[in-house]
């Protein structure tokens, strides 16, 4: 079989490049996987809306040729809910950093999950506030260092996937910027899911996080992702001690045919509309 090269130019806004990301940043790998996934899912550029918050990750929408909204810090899901509810035919994707999605945007995160609204949230989880120079984030591992935990972090981190599932998301998965092929596959799956889907992508910020935690090059960070990722199926046979300091990857939770908020709303309208 002849493998044709994917034409990223079809989706990139070339006049907005070069991007702001540091050389070696994981965000570009996720961007490319996202473009391939959207292409595979068959959505047209006109029907895709991408909202994002604020941060390095959240700069993504500016570079891609869809309907794109770079909103305020933490609030991207609220804009996504607004446009999805008003125009349900649109495919709405939200891009957030870990700080964006889980610190300042944590409330919107759990409520979007609770509603099970048909949106896909992709969390670019680099364990840090990359854009503002590496302060600690709500996913930063215990005992690691940042510009605001100079003596080591004592706050336990969120597990994005457990939180999403507990709050009501009906598709939950995790991959990394190392597992680029798997990442694309999970994105296609998340995009095809009807309901709130959350994909946690462990990505590298060697600049703001890595160099304070003995991983100052992108290579070391990519190695970390490779070594610490445990496929969900393998994890089943591992002890908590084996799993310490590692994270599960895979489609971790999926529940089909659950009531989806946008669909339920318009179904309800049918029963009350005054003709």
């Amino acid at each position: 079989m002849i493998k044709t090269k994917f034409d990223y130019n079809k989706y990139l806004r070339k006049n907005t490049l070069p991007h702001i990301w540091c050389p070696g940043c994981g965000d570009g790998i996720i961007l490319k996987a996202l473009l391939r996934a959207i292409d595979k899912s068959g959505y047209s550029k006109d029907e895709v809306v991408i909202t994002s918050g604020i941060g390095c990750a959240s700069r993504l929408p500016g570079y891609v040729d869809f309907n794109t909204i770079h909103t305020t810090h933490g609030r991207a899901l609220t804009f996504a809910i607004g446009i999805k509810m008003y125009k349900p035919r649109l495919k709405v994707i939200t891009i957030s950093g870990d700080g964006d999605a889980l610190a300042i945007g944590g409330n919107h995160f759990i409520h979007a999950a609770r509603r099970n609204i048909d949106l896909t949230l992709i969390v670019f989880n680099n364990y840090t506030y990359g854009m503002t120079g590496g302060q600690y984030s709500p996913t930063q591992p215990l005992d690691s260092y940042s510009t605001t935990t100079p003596f080591g972090n004592i706050e336990p981190p969120f597990d994005v996937c457990n939180l999403a599932q507990a709050a009501g998301a009906t598709w939950v998965g995790r991959s990394t910027s190392y597992h680029a092929v798997q990442l694309e596959k999970f994105m296609v799956d998340a995009l095809n899911h009807t309901g709130f889907s959350v994909l946690d992508v462990i990505t590298n910020c060697h600049i703001s996080y890595g160099r304070r935690n003995k991983m100052k090059s992108p290579v070391e960070m990519i190695k970390y992702q490779k070594e610490k990722a445990v496929p969900a199926r393998s994890a089943e046979n591992m002890t908590p001690e084996d799993l310490a300091g590692r994270f599960k990857t895979g489609i971790l939770f999926e529940k089909k045919d659950m009531p989806e908020f946008c669909g339920e709303y318009y179904k309800k309208l049918e029963t009350i509309k005054i003709k």
Partner: protein, 378 residues
């Protein structure tokens, strides 16, 4: 033709006006004394196939409103006091990205939780300066239930026409009182609709800073793909740090409002022709002022009133013109003195007096009349 007259509450009139204006979308979070706007729209909007959302907080509510507005909705939110404080970041975003929306503020006493069920006019300066950075805003202060309905329709029109958030500032008195309202027929009021731009997608720029004309906001999902960001952006919508782009963008946010002030301004003058004392009063305070003027006139004191209906942009020209003729000006407000500074700024040599009541009670005609008498002796 028989008139459609109803007895209505102020908050109900706002909901009614929104529906007449073609409102498609409401998102809010409950707070006294504005909750009735949400409650009424939670029934009205679904009945006409539109969207009502109760969000997790006021920031989310305005975020959802702006998301829907980018899709082409005529969208509204309503709140009070603490809720309006939470909305400030997204008011700035709407200003910066030029997204039309209507924000109802049924004012209650502040700061903080303040006086949930009692009236105040403490948010007029917040309406202008609440969010960070320079930007113009349109804010409207209706003084009756009937006016609440018509000004809500006008707010939607101005929002779409100038691509800006428009605030309506009522207060607990107007929001909760019941009065006669003449419900207009849809065909009897001007309604400005959201339209597709007159150019094909490949020629469309979401912003224009130099032609003097407001570019229509293309509803997303209709083939006009563009980028929206709260970063300073050029006419294509993409972020820019070029000094000339920054300057143009900043100028435009002011110019599009201030250069169209004749179209945006609205005011009422009451018995000012021969007045020796001018009251500048807005919202519910103008009602007591009107009565106080009648009391003063029957006692032989010639008082009159200038009532801004559009409070922002402030009617500088009218106030300065009037102050050339009338040398004593009284500004009664249910706050510690806010609009009085705007009046002073425009007063050409007149003496400006304040009457400030912040007790949770409306300012009474008697209180204003006493002040008029006092001023008349100076």
């Amino acid at each position: 033709m028989t008139k459609n007259i109803k007895l209505m509450q102020g908050n109900e009139a706002i909901a009614e006006g929104a529906v007449i204006a073609g409102c498609d979308f409401f998102a809010g979070y409950p707070i006294t004394p504005s909750s009735e706007v949400a409650e009424i729209l939670s029934s009205k909007l679904p009945k006409i196939g539109r969207v009502f959302l109760q969000m997790e907080d006021e920031i989310a509510a305005l975020g959802a409103v702006l998301g829907a507005a980018l899709g082409g909705a005529k969208a509204i939110t309503a709140s009070s006091g603490p809720g309006i404080s939470l909305k400030q970041e997204h008011i700035g975003y709407a200003s910066m990205c030029e997204i039309p929306c209507v924000i109802i503020n049924v004012m209650r006493g502040g700061p903080s939780t303040g006086l949930p069920t009692l009236p105040a006019q403490g948010d007029v300066m917040q309406a202008k300066w609440g969010t960070h950075g320079d930007h113009a805003i349109i804010a409207i202060t209706p003084s009756s239930v009937n006016e609440s309905l018509y000004e809500t329709i006008r707010a939607f029109n101005l929002a779409v026409k100038y691509r800006t958030p428009v605030l309506i500032l009522t207060d607990e008195i107007i929001g909760h009182m019941r009065e006669k309202v003449v419900i207009p027929d849809k065909n009897d009021v001007e309604i400005i609709d959201v339209k597709l731009p007159g150019v094909p997608p490949e020629k469309y720029n979401p912003y224009n800073y130099t032609s003097g004309k407001v570019t229509p906001l293309a509803p997303m999902g209709e083939g006009y793909r563009y980028h929206v960001t709260g970063l300073i952006h050029g006419e294509t919508g993409f972020p820019s740090q070029k000094t000339d782009v920054i300057q143009n963008a900043q100028n435009w946010l002011m110019d599009k409002i201030y250069k169209n002030i004749k179209d945006i301004e609205k005011f009422e003058e009451f018995q000012i022709e021969d007045a020796d004392i001018l009251l500048v009063a807005y919202g519910s305070t103008s009602r007591s002022s009107r009565q106080a003027i009648r009391m003063a006139r029957s006692a032989g004191i010639k008082a009159g009133m200038f009532r801004p209906i559009t409070i922002w942009p402030f009617p500088d020209e009218q106030v300065s013109k009037l102050s050339k003729k009338i040398k004593k000006i009284l500004v009664p407000e249910m706050n510690m003195g806010q609009i009085i500074f705007e009046v002073q700024r425009n007063a050409c040599g007149s003496s400006v007096y304040g009457l400030n009541v912040v007790s949770g009670e409306p300012i009474t005609p008697d209180q204003i009349y006493e002040k008029i008498k006092e001023i008349s002796k100076t």
